[in-house]
């Protein structure tokens, strides 16, 4: 499962960034840098649709009532905002957590392997008040739910 995903991302990225692929082939870059599964393009995108396209291959998201995003109404400290995304959907492939008003909106992406259920919980940083969006990829489609969190002290920059 894991190697399959890594291989796919690697192929996609080397095709998208042809020069990187050529540089790697010529031995100019250390191979482990190129092979890392981490999706640089998605995690450095400043706009949400661009990040989603790079990460999930689509930015076409439908809101769903089957997803619960749990986060505090008011976060006193934006550096630590607990977020839980829970869904009863079958065949969850991945869950992404997005803080829409952050400088880099895509915070985390969890790829679910065999047997994993649609539940993740983590703590994120939020620069200012905004929606926390949970995007669930199930059956090849994207579903989302959001929750507004008011931030009194920002957690990004300083």
């Amino acid at each position: 499962m894991s190697t399959e995903i890594k291989r796919r991302i690697f192929l996609k990225r080397s095709l998208a960034a042809g020069t990187v692929g050529i540089a790697a082939a010529a031995g100019l870059l250390a191979p482990q840098r190129v092979l890392a599964a981490w999706n640089k393009e998605a995690f450095e995108a400043k706009e949400l649709p661009a990040a989603l396209n790079a990460l999930l291959g689509s930015s076409d998201v439908a809101e769903s009532a089957d997803i619960t995003v749990k986060a505090p109404d008011i976060a006193e400290n934006g550096a630590v905002v607990p977020v839980t995304v829970d869904t009863g959907m079958e065949g969850v492939e991945s869950i992404s957590i997005i803080a829409s008003n952050n400088p880099v909106p895509l915070v985390a992406n969890f790829v679910m392997g065999t047997g994993a259920s649609g539940f993740v919980s983590t703590r994120i940083k939020m620069g200012k008040t905004g929606d926390v969006v949970g995007i669930v990829k199930a059956g090849g489609k994207l579903h989302s739910a959001k929750k507004e969190v008011k931030v009194t002290i920002g957690g990004c920059g300083g």
Partner: protein, 104 residues
């Protein structure tokens, strides 16, 4: 960098809940040092992988937007008491760590 991870995995009714805490500064690269005014270089975990008996049950990819000393929790089915699970992370500076634990 030893012991930067704490894991707790508990099986109940066929579903295993995994909770893990990692020790990491999680610098975004956008923060400035208040004394020198220089940017603090980015240093954050990019990938977290959790395996159960060699099968990957969850892979997380993170940006610097995850809080310092990250906490993570997720669930999977198919685990049994006593099974070994392994969690590992790697960061953007090439650092990494891993930890094994048994499901309780």
């Amino acid at each position: 960098m030893a012991k930067s991870i704490k894991i707790r995995a508990k099986e109940k009714g066929g579903v295993t809940t995994v909770k893990a805490l990692m020790t990491h500064p999680m610098e975004t690269g956008a923060r400035k040092d208040s004394k020198t005014g220089k940017k603090i270089p980015a240093h954050f975990i990019q990938e977290v992988v959790c395996k159960h008996k060699g099968n990957t049950v969850m892979t997380a990819e993170w940006s610097g937007g995850v809080s310092k000393n990250p906490y993570i929790s997720f669930k999977f089915s198919g685990g049994a008491k006593g099974d070994e699970i392994e969690l590992s992370w790697s960061d953007n500076k090439g650092g990494s760590d891993s930890m094994k634990s048994a499901i309780k």
